[in-house]
Amino acid sequence: MTDFFCARGLSCIRQDRVLFQGLDLELVPGQLLQVQGKNGAGKSSLLRLLAGLSTPDDGEILFQGLPLSQQLDQFSTSLCYIGHQSGIHEHLTALENLAFWRAAYELPYQDNLSLLGELGLAGLEDVPCRMLSAGQQRRVSLARLWLTQAPLWILDEPFTALDQHSIARLQQRFHQQLAAGGAIIVTTHQPLSVDFPSLKTLELAYRW
């Protein structure tokens, strides 16, 4: 199980600027990887590479010992990627957005109402998401993490706009995922408030 997810010699060039070069990382089940770095250091680009959305300029990414490019379909069923944008349509209600993502991930039926209640969105299920605050929209977007069974999560700035209470709840969910043998890659500027024994940090330096 040592080769759950790893990357070797990754390079990424955006608009003639080398964001990172020769980057190695390894992730084992139950591990949380926190990617840190200044704005523009290439955190989101790294996450998009790891999610299989774009291809690295150099290097390779291995999932369960096989290169990502050879098994994109299988890899993507093991992945839950929530990017910088929320992935929710502002004219749809929280319930409708959730139903869309449940269908997209081919998940079995679950009680969405009680889940939204648990996330502090009770009474707001039928309101179009554009009427919700930024933090509430984020919560609707992150509600997928309570539905998915994917072992690997890649989350870009999940804590943005969330209040302290929601941040704590999300980190509890991280604990559950790690305890269940999953792995998480996350970018964030804040230090994590809950203690994660398996935490690993990766600092991306800003390069000119």
């Binding site: 998009r48 999610a51 299989g52 959305l53 774009s54 291809t55 994109l72 379909d73 993507s76 069923t77 992945l79 839950c80 990627y81 929530i82 990017g83 910088h84 944008q85 929320s86 992935g87 929710i88 349509h89 502002e90 004219h91 749809l92 409708e96 139903a99 869309f100 269908a103 997209a104 991930y105 081919e106 179009p128």
Partner: protein, 219 residues
């Protein structure tokens, strides 16, 4: 999955009525202005009717195409859908179906009114309805392709028209030829067969191209 996605698209269309009412209104306005502009001479209108109907249909579908993927691209739905991969094809099919239901089907249903406005006789009217029924799904499929290719471009609308209009031309030629033949009392099954062939070919191949276009646009 396709049904859930289709329901989502229809809910969105019900909430953003301008998206499909605008093209429909455009179609009606063009057709009512034509008799005013070229004069109400019935024979002249009858001769021009096939071309007028199809040009108006084509432009109104084009009008609806630009916004197809815009919102979903901006709020990251497409990026995260591409990352999950399973849903992309169902998403494309749902978008196409919803686009036809909201822009193509209303045109077919409006065709009796159009026939009355332009003084089209019965045989030509039936041909017009048939060509619209077979041709508008093709218009939708191609506009979904154009929208997928141009969704990340700033001035997507102009690019979209440049890309898609050439692909509409064979459809325009055969559809208006069928109506014209029907108006002269000739058989038009050959033109209809070609319309069906084009539709089936597009239905089989274009969704694959759209799915790749979505992937390329987020990578």
């Amino acid at each position: 999955m396709v049904m859930t996605f289709l329901r989502r698209e229809l809910v969105l269309l019900a909430r953003q009525k301008a998206d499909w009412l605008n093209p429909l209104l455009f179609f009606i306005i063009v057709l009512t202005l034509f008799p005013l502009g070229v004069g109400p001479e019935p024979n002249q209108l009858r001769i021009m009717a096939p071309g007028i109907v199809w040009i108006a249909a084509l432009l109104s579908v084009l009008l609806a195409a630009e916004r197809l993927f815009r919102d979903d691209y901006r709020n990251g739905v497409i990026e995260q859908l591409v990352a999950s991969r399973q849903g992309v094809m169902a998403f494309v099919l749902a978008k196409t179906a919803a686009n036809w239901l909201s822009t193509g089907l209303p045109l077919v249903m409006l065709s009796p009114v159009v026939a009355m406005l332009l003084g089209v006789d019965k045989a030509a009217f039936i041909a017009m309805m048939l060509t619209l029924l077979l041709g508008t799904p093709m218009l939708s499929i191609l506009s979904v392709l154009g929208a997928a290719l141009t969704m990340s471009a700033d001035k997507g609308g102009i690019l979209l028209a440049l890309l898609i209009v050439p692909l509409y031309i064979p459809l325009l030629i055969f559809a208006s030829a069928a109506i014209e033949a029907a108006g002269m009392g000739l058989s038009y099954s050959g033109q209809l067969a070609i319309l069906v062939a084009m539709l089936l070919l597009a239905l089989a191949l274009v969704p694959l191209a759209v799915a790749s276009a979505l992937r390329i646009n987020v990578s």
